[in-house]
């Protein structure tokens, strides 16, 4: 089938409902042990789409695969062949599961697919509400389907429109609500705190006390922001050297902690020591005249590494693990407070997509309505003229012209009103009414790209 003559069959006999389906696994339906076995890399995703086209003659499909979801969007949703074919692909990919695949799958059809994709793109369906990464992943999945060298393209007119709108909805929700505000992990909160104190982190100096895993994640996040120098201070010097090598920093013995502190902007502590490591005497040794510049201290050790009374210094911003967790919870709550506003945007955009989709139906319906009327006109004209042999050719032509004008006149207003009704979003019912009134049968509709 040539892409230019790609026939779109909206409704597909479902009374105007959007003919879409989405099937897959997500963090709502499957644990990570299952999801991780169904992650499709870029080339695997491309191959899967080609297989769907070859095995199930899928017209349009987009495969979205991230660590939190693997789902395929299908158009049209005429029969179950594409879904069954996709399930077979998933089974092949996942291998032996402890339960049957169906227990982990979710499936949505019709209008719910539109809403689902818009929610996914806006981050409302993510594990951490409002996370931004999903927007890029949706874009990648869409572009992969668009650029796949198959004819017609996997992202045809309907999925093209759907995904473009989803990306736009994602952007609109993030711009107009607080859904993406704040940070939702300990590492990102630490970076956010540092940014709100120092502005740019370029050139800032970090001192790491101990070598915990969360500490490493925070250092990685800070490094991405451009911190200048990392000094690792550890009771075991060899371990300090090892970690310093990983983070491109340098190592120091614990007895030089005060010296390391003197030039630090950020202190990150995660030792396994049973007592405070950064005590008031060490702090006073580092800053004998008091501290006059901001110092961010993040203590993620249990028991705590940093003497709590250091927070009394006006320029010391001390956060322990409970503080950070509380902040993460607050951020998530703050984001969730924006869900109703985000939902309103999604609802409005879903309605817009629905109206656009319904408008696809009106062109073939109008054409068939006019065709039907023309057939009736021809039949009645033939019957009339059969008993009027005395008419001249000129008279016959005039009668025929009259009949054509009459039919056009009678169909003009309904046609215009039908188009207007579509634009106003009340399309599906109107189309059904016209089909019913004119007795138009449902079935193969002409190409979208034809005239009219």
């Amino acid at each position: 089938m040539d892409s230019r003559t790609h026939a779109v069959q909206p409704g597909a006999g479902r009374g105007g409902a959007v003919s879409l389906a989405v099937v897959g696994v997500s963090h709502h339906t499957a644990p990570v042990e299952v999801r991780e076995r169904m992650v499709f890399g870029p080339s695997e995703a491309a191959n899967a789409l080609v297989t769907l086209r070859e095995e199930a003659e899928v017209e349009e499909a987009v495969l979205l695969s991230t660590c939190n979801r693997t789902e395929v969007y299908l158009f049209p949703n005429r029969d179950d062949r594409p879904v069954r074919s996709w399930e077979t692909l998933l089974e092949r990919k996942a291998g032996q599961l402890d339960r049957r695949l169906g227990d982990y799958l979710f499936e949505r059809r019709g209008d719910r697919v539109v809403r689902h994709l818009f929610q996914v793109s806006a981050g409302l369906d993510s594990m951490v509400t409002g996370e931004a990464e999903i927007q890029g992943q949706v874009r990648d999945a869409y572009e992969r389907a668009t650029t796949l060298p198959v004819d017609p393209p996997m992202a045809g007119p309907v999925l093209n429109r759907l995904f473009q709108m989803a990306l736009s909805v994602g952007g609109q929700v993030r711009a107009e609500t607080a859904i993406g505000e704040g940070r939702a992990s300990v590492a990102s909160v630490a970076v956010e705190l540092a940014r709100k104190i120092f502005g740019s982190l370029g050139g800032k100096r970090v001192v790491i006390l101990g070598a915990g895993q969360t500490g490493e994640l925070i250092v990685e996040a800070l490094s991405r922001e451009g911190v200048k120098a990392v000094t690792v201070v550890n009771r075991t010097y060899e371990r300090a050297v090892e970690l310093a090598r990983q983070v491109h920093g340098h190592a120091m013995e614990m007895d030089r902690l005060a010296e390391a502190l003197r030039s630090a902007d950020i202190v990150l502590s995660s030792t396994a020591a049973p007592h405070p490591v950064l005590t008031r005497p060490i702090f006073e040794e580092a800053f004998p005249r008091g501290i006059h510049r901001p110092l961010l201290v993040i203590d993620i050790a249990l028991p705590r590494d940093v003497a709590p009374d250091l927070a009394d210094e006006s320029e010391v911003f001390l956060y322990n693990v409970d503080d950070l967790r509380k902040i993460v919870d607050e951020q998530v709550r703050l984001r969730e407070g924006s869900v109703p506003a985000a939902d309103r945007i999604i609802r409005a955009q879903s309605d817009e997509f629905r109206a656009w989709y319904a408008s696809l139906e009106v062109v073939p319906v109008i054409r068939r309505m006019r065709g039907q009327a023309d057939e009736w006109r021809h039949a009645e004209l033939e019957r009339l003229l059969r008993g009027m042999d005395h008419l001249t050719e000129g008279d016959r032509a005039r009668v025929e012209e009259f009949s054509r004008r009459l039919v056009n006149k009678m169909l003009h207003d309904p046609t215009v009103r039908l188009r207007k009704g579509m634009d106003r979003g009340g399309g599906a019912d109107l189309v059904d009414a016209v089909r019913f009134l004119y007795g138009l049968e449902e079935g193969e509709l002409p190409s979208l790209d034809g005239d009219g």
């Binding site: 711009a175 107009e176 609500t177 607080a178 505000e181 704040g182 909160v189 956010e192 705190l193 940014r195 709100k196 104190i197 120092f198 502005g199 740019s200 005249r289 006059h292 510049r293 901001p294 927070a311 006006s314 320029e315 911003f317 956060y319 503080d323 509380k326 902040i327 607050e330 951020q331 703050l334 407070g337 924006s338």
Partner: protein, 269 residues
């Protein structure tokens, strides 16, 4: 009416900033607020030019006229900061000052002074303009200082709420306060120098008892005090922010006291 229009734009811009703070659009909100401020500045400038053309004198002497010019200088400085995205958020603390000054000007009427004064010449214009820039520099340091103290409080209380997200980083606010203080101090120092030169030339003495002179010298000393608190005994950003807020309060209070007790009728002071 002409001086009311910019006031309405400034109020609308302030409302938009408050909406951004309360969780409204974080991209379009500041842009719209910036556009409203800029439109306000343009209409404000047009109103001041109209005053000049109508009365044949610059709006620097009469009480309402001088206040309107002072508000204009602040709004202009704010507009120039609009491209500096984070810094422009200081508008939420600076706009109320501009709005109050302009509202008083509108209420009192932006008219030339009925007194027959000899305030004229380039030296006088420079003196007043630089003084207004100096006071707006202190107002900017005050606005940045207020936001600094709020952000500092949020960070110490470990509350990452609306204020935390809206207010710029401490380092940005500190930089802004320093710019305001140094620029304001330089302008006010030059204003004093021009003022004294003008007074010596036209009056033959320094007129130390004139409330304008008293207030200008007091303001200059406040600047010195704020700079001293910030940089004396090792740089301290928090102390600097606190000093800017207190210093601005002292300057405003002393103005009000002088204005209500010994200020000249129909004059700025």
């Amino acid at each position: 009416m002409t001086h009311l229009l910019p006031l309405l734009f400034y109020i609308a811009a302030f409302i938009l900033w408050v909406r951004c703070l309360m969780g409204g659009s974080q991209r379009r909100g500041p842009l719209a607020a910036g556009i409203l401020t800029a439109v306000g500045v343009v209409s404000h400038g047009a109103a001041l030019v109209q005053f000049w053309l109508q009365y044949g004198e610059l709006p620097l002497v009469g009480f309402g006229a001088a206040l309107s010019s002072l508000a204009f200088v602040g709004a202009l400085a704010l507009t120039l900061m609009l491209p500096l995205r984070e810094m422009s958020r200081v508008a939420i603390a600076l706009l109320p000052f501009i709005i109050v000054v302009q509202a008083v000007a509108v209420l009192l009427g932006v008219e030339p002074t009925p007194l027959n004064l000899d305030f004229e010449g380039a030296g006088f214009v420079l003196h007043v303009s630089l003084a207004f820039l100096g006071y707006q520099g202190l107002a900017l340091a005050f606005a940045a200082g207020v936001l600094y103290l709020i952000q500092h409080h949020e960070l110490k209380e470990k509350r990452l709420g609306r204020f935390f997200h809206f207010i710029p980083p401490l380092a940005t606010l500190d930089r802004l306060a320093r710019i305001g203080l140094w620029a304001g101090f330089a302008c006010l120092t030059l204003a004093l120098a021009f003022g004294w030169a003008w007074t010596m030339e036209h009056r033959g003495s320094l007129e130390m008892g004139d409330p304008k002179v008293v207030w200008a010298v007091l303001s200059w000393l406040v600047f010195l005090g704020v700079l001293g608190a910030r940089f004396g005994g090792g740089r301290n950003d928090y102390r600097g922010a606190l000093a800017a807020v207190i210093g601005f309060g002292v300057v405003i209070c002393s103005y009000l006291v002088l204005r209500l007790t010994v200020g000249g009728e129909g004059l700025f002071l």
